[in-house]
């Protein structure tokens, strides 16, 4: 496992470098600069601002300087939120985003695996059709529709749950469910297909011939193997959750990093944008590495090559 991590490290560092480079130059391509206001700023002040935010001099020098700072862990100052560093903003907002994403992750995997297994065991019955119908529905309704509908029903009509904000456990329920729903649907479908395939294999027939109960076969033998495609999906899932959290944070007014991300693009706040992208991508890279490692642990037959 350690060897796997070490062997992957150079490639992953390269990916991260590409991501930083892409973001750095793309935001510069966008028309308008970070200090464009309705009134023109006098040139002397503008020069001073550019110097303060290290945006002066030739572009390649700015770039190498930025890479150096990032490597030291300094994500620089935000050009929009004056005198606040990107590190500071991210330290405040990322825990919120990750908490939301983490809860949605657990919710999506647990309910998805359960629903998929439920449907597979009852193959071609009414329960199966119903479960898969629900999954198809969850896949087809975008979360920015589910979110407002949940707010409308549980927040405004029934008044069971708060409509937005962040802090109390009750405020987490609606956003987490909204974020998890489409991915629970994907996992349920994956799980059903995979479990059906596994249940047809020889080792299951052997277990049945030995006289094991259906319950034992399912929990001790089948699920362990059938879960592998779901584990492979966990990497992309984390990426989708981070992207989805941007919408969910907007719908539920949650003070996470998503709002800052959207505004940083509109404000041409390059360093804030870069910071969010770097942290998101490195999180995902580390997470994928863990998924690959756990994959090897789950199924000894698979050798994961670097």
């Amino acid at each position: 496992m350690l060897r796997l991590i070490i062997r992957r490290l150079p490639a992953l560092a390269f990916v991260l470098f590409c991501v930083v480079t892409l973001t750095f130059f793309l935001i510069r391509l966008a028309p308008g600069g970070p200090f464009d206001r309705e009134r023109k700023i006098p040139p002397a002040i503008e020069a001073q601002l550019l110097a303060k935010y290290k945006l002066d001099g030739p572009v390649w020098k700015q770039f190498t300087g930025y890479i150096g700072d990032v490597a030291r862990g300094d994500l620089r100052l935000s050009t929009k939120y004056r005198n606040r560093s990107v590190n500071e903003i991210l330290a405040q907002t990322l825990p919120v985003t990750f908490a939301l994403g983490g809860i949605a992750f657990i919710l999506a995997t647990v309910s998805g695996i359960w629903l998929g297994a439920f449907a597979a065991v009852r193959r071609d019955t009414v329960s199966d059709r119903l479960a898969m119908g629900v999954a198809l529905l969850g896949l087809s309704i975008p979360m920015f529709v589910v979110g407002p509908i949940l707010v409308l029903v549980f927040g405004l009509w029934l008044k069971w749950l708060p409509v937005g904000g962040w802090g109390s456990p009750a405020q987490i329920v609606l956003p987490a469910v909204t974020l998890a729903l489409p991915f629970a649907a994907v996992i349920a479908r994956l799980m059903r297909t995979s479990l059906l395939e596994v249940l047809n294999q020889d080792f299951i027939r052997t277990a049945r011939a030995k006289g094991l109960t259906d319950r034992k076969i399912l929990y001790k033998h089948a699920l362990r193997v059938a879960i592998l495609p779901v584990v492979t999906y966990m990497g992309p899932l984390a990426a989708h959750l981070l992207t989805g959290s941007i919408v969910v944070e907007t719908v539920f007014n949650i003070p996470g990093a998503g709002g800052f991300f959207v505004h940083s693009i509109l404000n041409r706040d390059g360093f804030l944008l870069g910071g969010v992208v770097i942290v998101y991508c490195s999180m995902l890279i580390v997470f994928n590495l863990l998924v690959d490692a756990s994959y090897a642990l789950l199924d000894r037959r698979i050798r994961v090559d670097g």
Binding site: T23, L29, A30, F144, G147, H240, V247, V251, F261, V262
Partner: protein, 296 residues
């Protein structure tokens, strides 16, 4: 290969017929519907936030525009973006998958590793940055060469291209898997022995055999691209007003929800149209896949 009875077999189910009818209705309404509205319905009017009535079956919005008209306009853009984006991803994905699968060995390994990496990067986030970086430049270019259509549709064009550029990964994986299996079959080996060029083998022997699978995944990519587009537009970074897509309409609808007054029709009608379309596409795609690709 597709057997002649495939379509008939799928359409024997009432649910499949219903889905096809929904899709045909939405596509037809999007294509000709907006032209049927009288002039007064197309512009902002004095009637703000009118609830659904006979005159305005879907109600009106903040600017007194008819929501039914807006939903059809949105359907037009969403469907065009979905279809065109999916087509681009189809070409990219199948070309990539064909090359990787046919080459095999080290090339295949490296190419598929790249796909794995791209899978785990938040691709939509880069699209957001991309659109905002290039929109202005494309507009300038359009002004220089005097292409008024590109001026007004620059965002849509960029959206289609970039969404096509990110949604090809699944297609590439599927096509590669198929090619790996077909490559070992006797007819491919025979073609090779007969001295046919690799390009000819790929285009004449492999491509026709994987075409059904490609079409299945095309039906499943269209709803994915429509969802992506609506995501970007919902955040206000995709389609810009006065143009409308389902995502931008839903964004207006979601903003109109507040404890004081609920304009539910602004959310309900775009949501219902969009979800019905996506549901129908996903359902038909699923059925097609089950019929043509029994392995999955």
């Amino acid at each position: 290969m597709v057997e002649p009875g495939t379509a008939a077999r799928i359409l024997r189910r009432p649910a499949a017929r219903l889905c096809l009818a929904v899709l045909a209705a939405v596509a037809l309404a999007a294509a000709i519907g907006p032209e049927l509205f009288p002039e007064s319905y197309r512009e902002p009017g004095p009637l703000q936030y009118a609830p659904p009535s006979w005159a305005h079956p879907f109600g009106t919005d903040l600017n007194g525009r008819d929501v039914f008209y807006r939903v059809l306009l949105g359907a037009r853009i969403s469907l065009v973006v979905g279809l065109a984006g999916a087509l681009i991803s189809l070409f990219l994905g199948s070309a990539y998958g064909l090359i990787a699968g046919y080459a095999g060995g080290r090339t295949d390994n490296v190419m598929m590793r790249l796909v794995d990496i791209l899978y785990s990067v938040p691709r939509l986030i880069f699209i957001l940055i991309f659109i905002n970086a290039f929109d202005g430049h494309v507009r300038n270019f359009a002004a220089q060469v005097d292409w008024p259509w590109l001026m007004s549709y620059s965002r849509i064009v960029i959206l289609i291209i970039t969404l096509g550029l990110i949604e090809w990964l699944t297609m590439a994986r599927i096509v590669r898997g198929q090619v790996l299996a077909l490559k070992e079959r006797p007819f491919t080996q025979a073609a090779l022995v007969l001295g046919q060029s690799h390009a000819k083998i790929i285009l004449r022997h492999l491509l026709p055999n994987i075409l059904p699978i490609i079409i299945v995944y095309l039906t499943l990519t269209v709803p994915a691209v429509i969802l992506d587009e609506s995501f970007l537009s919902f955040l206000g970074l995709g389609i810009q007003p006065p143009q409308a897509s389902w995502g931008s309409l839903l964004s207006e609808g979601a903003q109109s929800i507040n404890p004081l007054k609920i304009y539910w029709w602004l959310l309900f009608f775009p949501a219902a149209t969009m979800s019905a379309t996506l549901l129908a596409l996903n359902y038909l795609g699923d059925r097609l896949r089950d019929t043509l690709d029994p392995r999955r």
